[in-house]
């Protein structure tokens, strides 16, 4: 059975649970990517926009920014796992004891 209708009207032969999990993974990676684009833009790109190309300094900065953002993602992920901090996000947890 599919929750939230995300698997859609899955045709026969399709496991809606499996599709839902793949969608969640895809959405998560996309969310991280978009935040990385936004953060690295703020850190590396000059707001003057005098030319349309990335200059040398900006390009190098982007490469390092991606590496660092990725390292932060791992560190924070490990921290959350060690802490078992599944209950720190949102309020859905407040209603878990239905």
């Amino acid at each position: 059975m599919s929750f939230l209708g995300r698997g859609g009207n899955a045709p026969s032969g399709v496991n809606a649970e499996k599709i839902d999990m793949a969608i969640t993974e895809l959405d998560t990676v996309t969310d991280f990517f978009n935040r990385m684009v936004s953060s690295c833009h703020a850190k590396c790109i000059s707001a003057r926009y005098a030319e349309p190309d990335l200059n040398k300094g900006e390009s190098v900065c982007i490469d390092r920014c991606v590496a660092k953002f990725n390292e932060v993602q791992k560190k924070v992920g490990e921290k959350l796992q060690n802490r078992g901090a599944t209950n720190a996000g949102g309020t859905a947890s407040t209603f878990g004891s239905l």
Partner: protein, 90 residues
């Protein structure tokens, strides 16, 4: 949230939806935390590795954010004890 007028089939359905949302909330909190702590702690891009100082900042930022969220959650639950939160636990 008043679930007292929910049939047992509806409660079971709602429980599954809530479980799903809890996972989605957790994942969004995770990426939000990465973004916030990265933006605050990482300002040196002369190297691609995290410096010791940045690393410590990230760890403290993460820990502090979780404690912050937990404290807000506790106060929020108290404040709403007279409204939906109480009905939910009924």
């Amino acid at each position: 949230m008043d679930f007292s007028n929910f049939s047992s089939a509806e409660q079971a359905h709602m429980t599954k939806i809530i479980e799903k949302k809890q996972m989605q909330d957790f994942l969004r909190m995770y990426s939000n935390l990465v973004e916030k702590c990265f933006n605050t702690c990482c300002n040196d891009f002369t190297s691609k590795a995290l410096s010791t100082k940045e690393d410590l900042c990230i760890m403290n930022c993460t820990e502090k954010f979780i404690k912050h969220s937990e404290r807000i959650g506790a106060r929020f639950a108290e404040l709403n004890a007279g409204s939906f939160a109480s009905r939910c636990r009924a």
